[in-house]
Symmetry: D2
Subunit: 386 residues, 4 copies
């Protein structure tokens, strides 16, 4: 036997987590994503606002260190030589800014769930903190991690669609068709609560994903939108359906539909983009396939790692074509990008070419999107600049 | 051998045609549709505005009588004992009202292509003529003839979706992605010409179909819309893309997208309707299948004449499940409905229960839709009442 | 008005029908197919073995002449100046040969339903009669009429798949999952009755279609097969499921599966062919689309009349891409081919290039297929030469 | 901060690996699968037959201990208090038996790639060793780990399909369409080499997966098969295509098709099972959806964790419906099952109810399948008992 001294470049990055105690959906997703490529090791956590629950969750997960709250964790970890290098923040929206600022202040990289914050005021504070920190801020708009989303973006960028005209995006769910928030669903409770979610319901929860995806792939940012928001379920304080018209620079136009009350739809995030030379179509529920439809030629189906797929997709893919990768792999790709950036940051370098993770700018854009939707809808779907 | 004296109930109805000379697409469709169920026999025509072409076309089709223009035909046929009982009008939009009024005046039933007319003024005149005539007026919004569209309508009506909340409809094409109207396409020429098409481009040509289908299946008529129309191809006088928000009575909302510049889409007419109990989804390019998604139950796929399909679909269907029926059969269903109504009309009866063909009211609604889209778009997508 | 003397080239061909009285499924299909392109006019019939039923059916259909039996009809029509030029035979299998021979003898073209006959002995007699007649014999293996089937055949022929290796074909139904023949289904009764159907059950009814399609598209005829037939429903005299291995010349191999006891399958006729350069895939329930998968390139979806579709498909297609054509149109294409051939025959010419209708040779091949399946299965799936 | 002493039940299991050095596909898959649920930690390896490569790979992966060969590793780890508890064997087929026996002998659990071995003789030796060992033997027939495969199995077991009649399974690939083994593909080299793969080519590599899946879901084991194997690529020593007929007890029948020369197919593993009450259909490339087609009712689509999916699927699933899980998650499910069994084994208990991982018996069944295919094919597709 020979000791295989692990090369320092492959030592997992020490990770902490705020939120994500037992029962939380997205915390578990972040942990799997962090672990999948062996780039992070979760060692510390403030997993719950209830200290006992935090401790029990930490023990169940085998964490080395558990804290009663994020502030204690930020202080404690910053002091240690083997303290965490990055922290994942997976709390409800209103609890993003506080911890994020605390860790950024101490130079600890932040990987934060979306949307950025619950309010624009918090978002601005967070932005300031991020600017003043040397640490990185990564927002988990995870759908941009899908290989065929990267492929689509690369194709648009390379001009294969020609000049863009249309961006049609939708994110459609069914889970809030009834008043789940009144029947004991914790997930539904905070997501329909303005105090915890912010001003946007479906808009904030999934509309921001759709918006981010559309911008990511098209390379365009809308100049203005007109939104018609609805709360179909009686007594619901936030929108559960959003109909949005989009206007992009140079005349491109789009539609965005976000709904949580469309029975039969699970996570129907779907993007279609058309230019004067061709179109693409991608759906999250069938993520390994991308339609490319050059005008006047047969439709082409490009599969992950299959013929026609380029290096941008291969870079964030692990297995051969025909073996489906899914949501967790795409989420892990954001973590892998974060790891690349963090490793580069250690040595004062820029992240390797092609590193694409959602940033604070994406988070702010999402906040502006939600605010504009709410404002437009209040003004009877008048146009609001972005 | 025994002469099989055809029972008078099954003597084909004598049909004339205005427009539809050689080379016209929709004329040939009407002829097949009229013939498919042996309910009509085409005997006379004014098939072209050019007399020689009219005559040559009539000869090629084996018509008994050819006329130089529709006025001569109306006069001539009205005079004959064996004159036509019905006429199909398949000219460009600006040539609908004239002939329609002429035949209605003489008590000859009119089967007219959509949209109703090119202008609202013509539409009103036509409406008046129809009111004053005893003859029937049938508008070929052919997509309502698909069996699974009938099935969907019946399910909505029966309350299987609960109270409706969302109506999402789109009709997406690619054929005007480039300036086909400048490269010799007759179809593209008149459809992009305001003098012949009217105020709506994509709006009139396919938007009216989408609008009609949404109303037909949902049983709802929007109260207001907000539209953002575009003409993406330089120099094009009419819209080639329409983004429309819809508001229905009782709080239901919707989106309508009509486009002729989306590469990869051939005739992507797709309807999705959601209520508080379930949803349906149907697509014209896969017309024999209907998704029904009751909330909280497995998704169900209902096939034409398959398990779960009801009498409303069976009534307009000819062959067993798994043997696809298509566009021509759906079109023929409108003709078959027309035939039922005409036969009933002969004996002074109401059409049999379940007869559903698009009427003048549908045509007027379509005209209002186009006008409202144009008006709203000029006012920067402000809401316009319908 | 000017009389439009129909050019003789477009006078519909006078057609008679044997079988197809009221209630029969396939008779109605043949009538629509004959009528769809206005190439035939049905004028005479011996529509049922019961004279009253025959007469009533003829009257309901508006036929000029009704006969009590096919022999009387053959004699009677042959004598008339305006007698039928062609006859459609749409009886159960055991009633194909008799009428076919009778009409062929008198120089009347025969359009006959498949399979050719119920027994090989009949098939041989019919073959002899056909040889001795100047009249044409057309077998309605209707699936070869689909435009994308023509497209597939043309691509194979042009070498786009390279040298063929694999031919996988299946025709899967569900309708005989239970003993429908004992519960009043006329269709099920004769199709499961050896006296009327012949030696093959699923094999004859749908296996012959699958076999014919595979041969038509691949251009190959198997040298040998090994078949394992089953009758899953207790008491059923004929096979309701067939598992068949195929060996083609030059080393290509295949599998054929025909089943009528597979719940969830309506008319699942599906063909996949692979060569050393690429593959194709087509399914009857989605007939307007053809997959073409050149090795090492993105998969391509070719649509009827869309980009990439060639003249062989366009020739048998009526409407633009995205407007689905279906089963009846494909069936009508066989009739249209028959009409072309009959018109050419009139003037002593060969049918126009590209005319492809199934012939007596196809019928005999189907009979050999059924016989070989039955023989192989009795010998425990031993190889039987074809 | 409070130390969160990890509960012993959640300490990851110490894992070693034989094979899987840099560049190997399946080794990386096993590592991700082992890591995904945090149930295993890879600490030792004999990752390559070349010591330097082994060391470099171990270092790159951050392994604590690297060995030059599996024998040294077995001895070394058995001696340590903190030695590995389980080993993953991810070498080519001919290198399964040797290491497996070595570790089993020392009471170390074995997680072994499929097929079991290269030869039946080795398989028998391995079986003996497994019988004599207290350690567990887990075979990674990973496709049985998909949630909807579990769902399908549960539905069959619950009788929802009635009495089974038909089992149709196929695993179709394209990657060996050309002679990849002569153009530098390591994967292709050993998989087409009898010395390393054994007697089966496509049969062993993917046919065993298809066979295992069919048996797993149907609960049936064939009594006999008839196989027609081909080597389409000139010079290839092993089969690259297998056509197989299956006979199950009590009269059920099936077909199995395994191919590596079908362009357009990536990993087309597809299973269809039909009984006298209904059918199911599942495809690996779209793994989160399962069709259930009860005879006489609308087709139902059951989604992972969606309505209609039961506890057997939920048990091996991590995220909500509509967020696709894929190949790695299914593979990880086999590891998670292994972990459950290993933890239970520690305390002398049986694995928790519902634990389903492929065992030695599955491996032996796979070996018999390959042997029977080869034997049958040599005898011209004669039936061979299993």
């Amino acid at each position: 036997m020979i000791a295989a001294a692990p090369s320092s470049t492959h030592l997992p990055i020490r990770l902490g987590m705020v939120g994500g105690g037992s029962g939380a959906f997205i915390g578990a997703v972040h942990r799997i994503a962090a672990r999948l490529d062996d780039e992070f090791r979760l060692v510390a956590g403030a997993l719950s606002s209830t200290p006992e629950k935090a401790r029990a969750s930490a023990e169940a997960l085998g964490l080395a260190r558990s804290y009663d709250d994020f502030a204690a964790m930020a202080r404690g970890e910053a002091r240690r030589k083997d303290g965490i290098e990055a922290v994942a923040i997976v709390t409800p929206n209103h609890m993003h800014a506080g911890p994020a600022i605390e860790f950024l202040k101490r130079g600890i990289h932040v990987i934060c769930d979306k949307p950025l914050t619950a309010t624009m005021a918090e978002a601005k504070k967070l932005a300031k903190a991020a600017e003043q920190s040397k640490a990185l801020f990564i927002l988990t708009h995870n759908y941009t991690g899908y290989p065929m989303v990267r492929q689509a973006r690369a194709m648009v960028e390379a001009g294969e669609l020609g000049r863009l005209r249309l961006v049609q995006v939708e994110y459609v769910q069914e889970w809030l068709t009834e008043a789940a928030e009144r029947f004991g669903s914790k997930q539904a409770e905070w997501r329909t609560d303005p105090a915890r979610s912010g001003a946007g319901g479906a808009t904030g929860d999934i509309g921001t994903h759709a918006y981010n995806l559309a911008c990511f792939v098209s390379g365009l940012t809308p100049e203005a939108l007109a939104a018609d928001l609805s709360s179909f379920v009686p007594g619901r304080a936030l929108d559960d359906n959003a109909h949005v018209l989009l206007r992009f620079p140079a005349g491109a136009r789009g539609m965005l539909w976000a709904s949580q009350v469309a029975p039969g739809n699970e996570n129907g995030l779907r993007l279609r983009i058309y230019g004067d030379k061709g179109g693409i179509e991608w759906a999250q529920e069938d993520p390994n396939r991308l339609w490319f439809t050059p005008f006047g030629e047969p439709k082409r189906l490009i599969t992950r790692n299959g013929a026609g797929a380029g290096p941008e997709a291969a870079r964030v893919s692990r297995i051969p074509p025909g073996h489906p990768e899914g949501y967790l792999e795409a989420f892990a790709n954001i973590y892998a990008e974060a790891a690349r950036a963090i490793r580069a940051h250690r040595s004062g370098e820029a992240p390797p070419a092609g590193t694409l993770y959602p940033t604070l700018a994406d988070g702010l854009a999402g906040m502006r999107f939600v605010a504009a939707c709410v404002q437009s809808s209040k003004r009877n779907a008048a146009w609001v600049a972005l």
